[in-house]
Symmetry: C2
Subunit: 426 residues, 2 copies
Amino acid sequence: MKIFYNDILTNEKREKLFSREKISNEELYSVIQPILNDVKKNGNNAVLKYAKKYDNYDSSQILITNKELKSAANKIDTELKKVINKAYTQIYKFHKCQKPKNYKIQTIAGVTCRREFFSIENVGLYIPGGNTVLISTMLMLGIPAKIAKCKRIVVCSVVKDNEINSGLAYAALKCGVNEFYAIGGAQGIAMMAFGTETIKKVDKIFGPGNQYVTAAKNLVSIDDDGCIIDMPAGPSEVLIIADEFADPCFIAADLLSQAEHGNDSQVILLTTDEKLITKVTEAITKQLKILPRNSFAENSLKKSFILLVNSIKEAVALSNNYAPEHLIINTKNAVKVSSQIKNAGSVFIGAYSPESAGDYTSGPNHSLPTNGYAKATGGVSVESFLKPITFQTLTKRGLKRISNTVIKLAEAENLEAHANAIKIRL
Amino acid sequence: MKIFYNDILTNEKREKLFSREKISNEELYSVIQPILNDVKKNGNNAVLKYAKKYDNYDSSQILITNKELKSAANKIDTELKKVINKAYTQIYKFHKCQKPKNYKIQTIAGVTCRREFFSIENVGLYIPGGNTVLISTMLMLGIPAKIAKCKRIVVCSVVKDNEINSGLAYAALKCGVNEFYAIGGAQGIAMMAFGTETIKKVDKIFGPGNQYVTAAKNLVSIDDDGCIIDMPAGPSEVLIIADEFADPCFIAADLLSQAEHGNDSQVILLTTDEKLITKVTEAITKQLKILPRNSFAENSLKKSFILLVNSIKEAVALSNNYAPEHLIINTKNAVKVSSQIKNAGSVFIGAYSPESAGDYTSGPNHSLPTNGYAKATGGVSVESFLKPITFQTLTKRGLKRISNTVIKLAEAENLEAHANAIKIRL
């Protein structure tokens, strides 16, 4: 990891340091758009064509039947089943507090207005599959969908060698998934967004994926025939704030657990302690050796950095400006420091709160905003699977009471027919 | 308006009837993308170039100073000021109930998790200006932004002939707008999304606009340098469900108040009463004559339709499938009918609840999902200007309690470094 000193950085250099690596979207989009168009036009045939091309999928089966799913789930290892159940319980417990309240008020006598939340009926969950099957993501998306009582929960996930991952099958069934498709990639996103001759389109798509999946999600979200998506996504990130009381081995392990995700993961350490920097880099070198995915980690670390700051306050300001997906606060007064956080996806407070605890089981969601989007949006929640509808009932006297306001404002906007809809009633 | 009978429609024809007219997005996007790229690269110069080209804006002033805004607001007509204040009060009253609650729980002993909502710091509101200045939209976006305590509320709105609309200026100041820019169109969206040499970029953009504005919003929402947006948008829509007890003049007025918005507005009437159809069409002809914007209304009506259905239940099913932006229920048991609604932006219940009441002052927001997006999202709300952050604090014993779950799941996903971040701590 590169090491910098905040004191001697120019504003320009600091800005460059914290700016995320950008992918050339336009190029990526020009590759993905034709795939989407093809699936929109040619349905399942196109889906299978791209699954074969990009995932070596050599079956003509798109839907995994419930029977097949159950049969796969039955093969689950007893210990894995036990920990999935435990994680499920904790994630469920945290998310079930998220159901928003309906309300009803009179805004003026005779004008009764209310707001009520409804489930999104058809939701599509993209679960990365293939070599690394993300069972935890199945729980993180499936549990809030289940709490929100979504009627139809669709999953898309690449199935390798016709062997459905038993842990994923078990988790999917536990979350109440109704339809499971053995398709991933842009073709999986297109299939859910547009529908095909056998698959009904969904209303919203959730879930992480590689850059092709992300590009496909973005493109269907701005296509009139497509659907909305949970949030825009980029490579995963962690920022750690640490002082002289932090254990360098813990920090090294946390940096590496983010770095192993992929070549493009972003990890940043901000610290007030110069000695800690040496100790952390030594610990990283030591820990890297024993990791099976160390080539990913090494590549990410090359692009990552440690910054020496003058105070924790300075670190907090830099972090709020960066808006990391994950923020670990490993300082003496971590709780106090956390009260100054304004922009982050999820915050891990104190020495014994590593990101990986939250990735799997603490309770909060792990589908979080990256690329600075934490300034504007939070992670996936039960509300992400609901939508509010507003209702209003006016009595004749209520309408009379507001009539002058509506008519004057409509006339100020040159919308005479709007005014007329009031006048004609009174 | 064309008239159809649901009984004799084939499924295919019915589907076609209810399908919205699609704009060729790809073509539109290819026109707008270069404008966005230019503003991203060349800042204010590019902004002014396109403002001159598309809006005949012949000034070099982008920012309207607070002094200028106040001076414009002071010129407001007394009666208009009074009704803006009245509308403000009702809209404020409805929206202030929308602040979501923070919460904190232990998901297991030693694992404390909480969720807290924070304001989005920088928000950009696009307010259609020029010939029709939407003062009401200023209130509908500004009020929830103010309730959410957004620190920096930016407005973009075309100013015609260097004359700032006094009603808009008054409403903007009342909502606490900090920065007001005299720029509209795609260049206005680009300016807010990317920032320029004098303007700091915003975190989220809200507001309606023509097809160019909508295309620009969509494109910045999938640009890594851009920002997220409130929702995708299309032409405005109303669907009315009516029975034999409905007054045909009311229905005609409601259809026309939607139709006058623009050539592409969508209006639909579903009724169980064949006689009502004749009466409504007669009333439309009569009312059309006196409307200043009747050319817009006539164009929209040509593409719109009335459908005779067998029952209100049938009408509700069709409406839930269409998911209209606005739904008016003008039937005898309107409240009961409304309890069956599952997909709609905003619902108007009974004979004295016209859409225009809600467009201006009833209380609920008028920025609503079109194009069927009401299946997946609601209108703009206070929550649209907030984002949740999750926090977790684990004790050493808490971490120990969940350690086996994390380690087993991490190993099942081949993420050894995730497991190691736990092992190293215990």
